[in-house]
Amino acid sequence: MDWGNLFVIAVGAILINNFVLMRFLGICPYIGVSKSLSSAIGMGMAVIFVMTIASLFSWIVYVYLLDPATNFWGVDLTFLRTISFILVIAGLVQFVEMVIQKLAPSLYQALGIYLPLITTNCAVLGVAVLNIDENYSLVESLVNGIAAGIGFTLALVLMAGIRERLDLADVPKALQGVPIAFIMAGLMAIAFLGFSGLSVG
C-alpha cells in the first residue's frame, strides 16, 4: 500500500481542491445549513458518513456491474454510471436513515435528520463520479470520500462560525442573507487559493 499516495489524495481533497470552495460542489447545503454552528457540525458529520458509504458502494457497483474489464458479463455498461450511482446512493442513505432512527434515536437527532438532504446533494454524487474519473482503487476511493467529506465540513463550519457573528453586524439590506454569504464564500475561496501552491508528495 502506498501511504504517500493516499496522503496526497487526502490533502488534495481537503485543502487544495476543497469540494465547496474550489470545485463548487454542494453549494446549496453550504448556503442553506450554514446559519448555525450546531447544525453545520451535524450536517458535516452526516456528509462525511454518506460520502464514505457512497464512495464504497459506487465503486463496487462500477467495477462489478458496469466496467467491461471487470464486470460479470464482459460488456460495456459504463453509460449506466450516473443512473446506477444515484440509485445506489439514494437507496442506501434511506436505508441507513431508517436503521439509525430505530436503533439510535439520539444519533438520529444529531445526524440522521441531515441524511435525506444529502442524497440529492451534488457533492455526494460528485465524489462517486470523481473516484471513477480518476481511476482510483477501492482504498483510494474511500480515502478520497472521507477527505472530501472533511473538506466540506471544514468549509461549512468555518462559514457557520462567520455567519453567527455576522448576525450582529449591520449589513446593507440588499446584501443580507444569501448575497453576503456568497461574498464571504468568495473571500474564503481566496484564502483557500493559497493552498493551490502547496506541493505534496
Binding site: 470552495l21 474550489m22 470545485r23 463548487f24 460542489l25 454542494g26 453549494i27 446549496c28 448556503i31 453509460f79 449506466l80 454510471r81 450516473t82 443512473i83 444515484i86 440509485l87 439514494a90 440529492t120 446533494n121 451534488c122 454524487l125 460528485g126 463520479v129 470523481l130 474519473d133 446593507p172 439590506k173 440588499a174 446584501l175 443580507q176 442573507g177 444569501v178 448575497p179 453576503i180 454569504a181 456568497f182 461574498i183 464564500a185 468568495g186 473571500l187 475561496a189 481566496i190 483557500f192 487559493l193
Partner: protein
C-alpha cells in the same frame, strides 16, 4: 395562467437561480466563460423539457409514495443521453463541463419543477414551464459568465471586447470570482426588489394614515 405567462415567469419573476436560489453549483462552476454557460444551459433546457414531458405524461400512473425515485430515474436517463450526445459531438465542451454534466441529475431545478409543476399539469403547460425555467437558468448563467469572462479574460463568447491595455483580473476566472459575482448579482436583484417594495409600503402607510404617532389609547377622564 396562460402559456405565455408560464414561460415568462421563469425568466425573471421566478428565476430559478436568482430568485429561488436553486441550481447554484453548476451556475457557479461553469460560468467562467459564456460558451460553457450556454452549453450547460442548453443541456439543462433539454433535460428539463424531456423530464417534464415524460413526468407530465405519466403523472396519473406514478404512485405518490415512490414518485421521487421514479423522477430521479427519468431525469438520470435524459442526463445520460445528453452526456453521450455531448461526448460524441462536442468533446471539447464535454471536457470543459466535466463532472457537472452527470451532476445535472441532482440539480434541484429539475427535480423541483418535476415535483412542483409537471406532476400536476398537462403536457403543454409542463413543456412551456420547462422552457421558461430552463431559459431563466441559462439567462442567469450567461449573466454571471458575462461578468466573469469580460473581467477575467477580456472576451465575450471568445470575442475580444476589452479596450486595449486592459489587464484581465485572473481572480474572476477562479473560484472566488464566481462566489463574489454571484453574491453581487443576487444583491442587485434584492435591491431592485426592495425599491419596489418600498414604493408599495409608502402607499400603504399613506393610506393607513400613520407615520409617526402610535395610535394611542383614548381616555375620557
Amino acid at each position: 395562467m396562460n402559456l405565455r405567462q408560464e414561460f415568462t415567469k421563469g425568466l425573471v419573476a421566478e428565476n430559478p437561480v436568482l430568485r429561488l436560489a436553486l441550481g447554484l453549483c453548476p451556475s457557479l462552476a461553469v460560468s467562467s466563460s459564456v460558451e460553457n454557460a450556454l452549453g450547460m444551459g442548453i443541456s439543462v433546457v433539454f433535460v428539463l423539457t424531456m423530464s417534464n414531458l415524460i413526468i407530465s405524461l405519466m403523472r396519473n400512473i406514478i404512485p405518490a409514495k415512490i414518485r421521487i425515485p421514479i423522477y430521479i430515474v427519468i431525469i438520470a436517463t435524459f442526463v445520460t443521453i445528453v452526456e453521450m450526445i455531448m461526448a460524441a459531438y462536442q468533446p471539447a465542451l464535454f471536457r470543459a463541463l466535466g463532472i457537472f454534466v452527470p451532476l445535472i441529475v441532482v440539480n434541484c431545478i429539475i427535480l423541483g419543477r418535476a415535483e412542483a409543476f409537471a406532476s400536476k399539469n398537462s403536457i403543454w403547460p409542463a413543456i412551456i414551464d420547462a422552457w421558461g425555467m430552463g431559459v431563466g437558468f441559462t439567462f442567469a448563467l450567461v449573466m454571471i459568465a458575462t461578468v466573469r469572462e469580460i473581467l477575467g479574460n477580456g472576451t465575450w463568447l471568445n470575442m475580444p471586447v476589452a479596450p486595449a491595455g486592459f489587464e484581465p483580473v485572473l481572480l474572476m476566472m477562479l473560484a472566488p470570482g464566481a462566489f463574489i459575482t454571484m453574491g453581487l448579482i443576487l444583491a442587485m436583484f434584492n435591491w431592485s426588489d426592495d425599491a419596489k417594495a418600498k414604493k408599495l409600503k409608502d402607499a400603504v402607510i399613506k393610506r393607513a394614515g400613520f407615520i409617526t404617532e402610535q395610535p394611542k389609547t383614548e381616555r375620557s377622564n
